[in-house]
């Protein structure tokens, strides 16, 4: 086990590593996405109560899980950057924020399109929906705060504090359906197992995995641009083949 992980905390080494591994995430993400959609629409049966409308679950649940998961990953990177003063950690947090915000948006959007036919309302000020909306605003707040401070290292520190404090919202979203009486249904996947049809489970897990792989690929792609931007005055950037062209 002679891998020196600290080597990759240097932006120059990580820039090259990220460039190499992106296809290893992007290609399986595409394959799993197609397989998951196929299973969700052509293999999984109709729902006894909700007919075909329930098929929104295959995108709604993975997007919701990822919106929360990516927030925690973003907050963890931000905290690492704050504590150890590592530039790359802060760059990763910045790169994760837009993708996390997109997943939160997709969660809310698909939720509205599911809520309208099932509950009769696009939106209700319910504990689960409201806390997910707050999550989207936390992502926006992180992005806006970071963009509003000129000194990039100060921006990293201020945004990191916001991300860490905001992390308290994630368990609130997760447990909201248990703590409060809400219109939103209970957890679909429980630690004790699930009551779903096997093909429904497969479709959901394939799309969850596809979403995770997609998030990794697109974040690594974005962080490479952020690294270039922040390191533009260094020798190693000047010597890159893509810069020399």
């Amino acid at each position: 086990m002679a891998i020196n992980w600290f080597k990759y905390s240097a932006p120059s080494a990580f820039y090259n590593l990220a460039g190499k591994v992106i296809p290893w995430f992007a290609v399986p993400a595409t394959i799993l996405f197609v397989a998951g959609i196929y299973t969700g629409f052509f293999v999984a049966p109709s729902d006894a109560q909700q007919g075909e409308a329930y098929r929104i679950i295959f995108i709604h649940v993975p997007a919701s899980i990822l919106s929360m998961f990516l927030y925690l990953v973003m907050a963890a990177y931000a905290a690492l950057g704050l504590i150890f003063n590592t530039r790359l950690s802060s760059m990763m947090a910045t790169a994760l924020a837009p993708t996390g915000a997109l997943f939160a948006f997709v969660s809310l959007w698909t939720g509205a399109f599911w809520g309208k036919p099932m509950w009769g309302a696009w939106w209700v000020w319910d504990a689960r929906l409201t806390s997910e909306l707050i999550l989207l605003f936390l992502y926006f707040g992180f992005i806006a705060l970071h963009a509003s401070i000129d000194d990039v290292r100060r921006a990293d520190r201020a945004a990191a504090l916001l991300a860490i404090v905001g992390a308290v919202n994630v368990p609130i979203i997760y447990f909201s359906v248990r703590w409060w009486n809400t219109l939103h249904q209970g957890a679909t996947i429980k630690f004790t197992g699930t009551s779903m049809h096997i093909a429904m489970q497969q479709a959901m897990f394939m799309l969850l995995l596809a979403g995770w792989l997609y998030a990794v690929a697109v974040t690594l792609f974005r962080v490479r641009s952020i690294i270039l931007e922040r390191e533009k005055n260094t020798r190693w950037v000047a010597e890159l083949v893509e810069v020399q062209q």
């Binding site: 629409f41 109709s46 007919g51 075909e52 409308a53 098929r55 929104i56 995108i59 709604h60 997007a63 837009p98 993708t99 997109l102 948006f105 997709v106 959007w109 698909t110 399109f113 599911w114 309208k116 036919p117 997609y214 697109v218 792609f221 974005r222 490479r224 641009s225 270039l228 931007e229 533009k232 005055n233 950037v237 000047a238 893509e242 810069v243 062209q245």
Partner: protein, 53 residues
């Protein structure tokens, strides 16, 4: 089940395709945006480099 039934989604076509269509578009737009950002960033870095030479 034929294709017309499939697209009809048991009467929920607007909701199902509205949810999937927008979600898919959002991800496609994100991919285009990160690619655009890379093109723009590389162009800036090249210009800076040439100015410094």
């Amino acid at each position: 089940m034929n294709w017309a039934d499939f697209f009809n989604m048991g009467g929920y076509a607007f909701y199902v395709w509205g949810a999937y269509g927008v979600s898919l578009s959002v991800f496609i737009i994100e991919v285009l945006m990160v690619r655009h950002k890379r093109t723009v960033t590389l162009r800036q870095v090249r210009l800076l480099n040439r100015a410094g030479e």
